[in-house]
Amino acid sequence: MANEKVDVVIVGAGASGSVYAAVMARAGKKVVLLETGPDWQLSDLISSDFWGRRVKPAGPPFLLEGKNPYGYVYQAGWGVGGAALHYFANFPRLMPNDFKVKSEHGKGLDWPINYSDVAPFYDKVARDVGVSGDAKAEEIWRPAGEPYPLPPMKTFRGGEVWKKGFEAVGIRLAPAAVGMLSAPYKGRPACIYDGWCHVGCPIGALANPLVTYLADARKAGVEVRAHSTATRVLTNAQGDKAIGVEYYDANKEKQVQEASVVVLAAWSAQNPRLMLNSATDRHRNGLANASGLLGKYLTAHFGSGTSALFDEDIQPYMGTIGAQYFSYDRYDKNAHKAKGAFGSTFLVAGAAVKFSGIGGVANARGDLFGPELAAFMKRAARGYTRINAFAEEMPLIENRVELASDKDEFGMPLGRITHSYNEDAVALFNANFEEGLAIAKATGAKEVWSNRGAMPTIHLMGGTIMGTSATNSVTNSYGQTHEIANLWVAGPGIFPTSGAPNPTYTIFALSLRGAEHLAENWGSVAG
């Protein structure tokens, strides 16, 4: 069934899709937002680790391969708000040294832009959604920008006990910048520090799309169609324009939404899956894939967690799931060169910890079971805390998403994600454990240990990387595909390199940059 043509159809109602929807609607465009999952409300966000699983994808439509298969469900979105419905809302920025890694080190890739191109949008996003932090304190690591609109969040003993350890090894800390409200802001209430952010914040103190850009978009008239699964981007006979999106609605009936501009904001793996599945005679290898890089250069973060157990009651369940403190003191790409490592590390301390779930207290000692686990839980409930060293892997062309032969219920080929870490990343993973243990020992904790296990995969970036031309990338720095002017890609998929910090602040900033550029250049872009 064909629907009335609109100005913009956006696939995916998460962080990036919400930004595009808000900006384009405010620019007077008629916008339809397609979302494969439910239309969640704040009242759906139950404070419970197992109820919180409802807002995450159900089972893998992606097949996972490689030495380090990409486990994505915990951090992926499903439904309105996307992954930003349940993210940790840490708001670190990329740093100037993230943008020219290839030029400066001969590894990885360069971005076609610099930190200075993105910085104004970090500041804009901070004003839009309400960021709490101390910008001045961060300026020991980055160029000056605007102050955050809100002061830093409260701190709790679960974070404070780490300060002594970091100081002992010469690592400086700053109050963490977070997308949470330390005070009321724009009609939203301040955080109450209950630590349930990771299953969604129903009071709106955390900057999820439902209370920020998506709320703005709805007010500006955007139509959100939940349970609408996009399967193809449709192009004209010449192959030089996108004309709309084919999708299946809540009744599993095929629909077509025509539009002057198509924005794919589904996810780093889902966007290339859609583009690959949209191949035509004019684009035999998938849309905007002249470079052959569509689906390639996927990157992930990995974390080296270090735990500490105190006799003191440090109330680890208090605070937020975001960090209390962070540090870029190991952000130089060669910070751990002596240990054979390459890449930046971003350190965080003081996240609240609940009992169950993948990040819960019970998993801090995954080897324990039976009476030993019961004894550990009694001690850890009030004395456990951890830090994490998040780090980057360099983009590798063999880390990719491609179409598999299995198909989903709509006949669309499943995606297959292949992911392996290289030696640089493994060395960085190990170096960060070593330093984490040194920090932990210096805190004076009763017990300390490394949370070693399979090398984790956190966040997913790349797959539709930005670059200078159709020979080396899929999109330009705004997310506009090189080959089809009115087909845009939004989200972390356009990152050529990952940096080390949580990506959502950068997703918001780049999406705002791209959306404003689209609005300003509408006449030359729209089909």
Partner: protein, 187 residues
């Protein structure tokens, strides 16, 4: 979410209970209540339930009474997108019943192979401990099913959920639950 799904979700979430079928009537119960009432299982076979109860209890003391069998059975009997299982987060491919069947079958088969035909529930506590320790390290020879370490992690997570992840679980450890939106009947 359509109106029917929304109604069921809100109903369950607000009372902290799941939909069990008792005497042909859908009733909202916590897994602990379902266990106490011996609610008939929908998907697990009796021998699978016996293995799961024994394994859950050996992994996390209190899991049997907290209703780990009822929890898993109810969860694998509903649509995957409604499921609250950690298996969902662990990228298990739906239908989740297939994974649990394979996992419980592997445990039972390996136990009988190692212990002269005795199933896991028939082992003494020391034997159960040694079995689990080998399973979690993928050190059981002839294991037939999903990797032992993966099975350990999934079943341990279910058991942790019903024992520690509830409001009762927090209360038992003397920690305030502090919900924004509470499961009001302590689950």
């Amino acid at each position: 979410m359509d109106p029917i799904e929304r109604r069921v979700f809100n109903q369950g979430a607000l009372i902290g209970a799941l939909a069990f079928v008792v005497g042909g009537v859908e009733t909202m119960l916590t897994p602990r209540e379902a266990e106490a009432q011996n609610v008939p299982l929908r998907t697990l076979k009796p021998e699978e339930a016996k293995t799961l109860a024994a394994m859950g209890e050996a992994l996390v003391p209190g899991a049997r009474q907290a209703g780990v069998v009822q929890f898993v059975d109810q969860q694998i009997s509903i649509a995957p997108e409604e499921a609250l299982l950690e298996a969902r987060i662990m990228n298990v491919r739906p239908p989740y019943a297939n994974f649990y069947r394979a996992a419980l079958g592997a445990i039972e088969g390996a136990s009988k192979e190692r212990h002269g035909g005795r199933g896991f529930a028939e082992l003494n506590p020391a034997e159960q401990h040694d079995f689990i320790d080998a399973m979690r390290q993928n050190k059981i020879e002839g294991w037939k099913g999903p990797a032992g370490g993966f099975v350990y992690a999934a079943l341990r997570a279910d058991s942790v959920d019903v024992v520690y992840g509830t409001m009762d679980g927090y209360a038992a450890l003397g920690v305030p639950y502090m919900p924004h939106i509470a499961p009001t009947r302590s689950w």
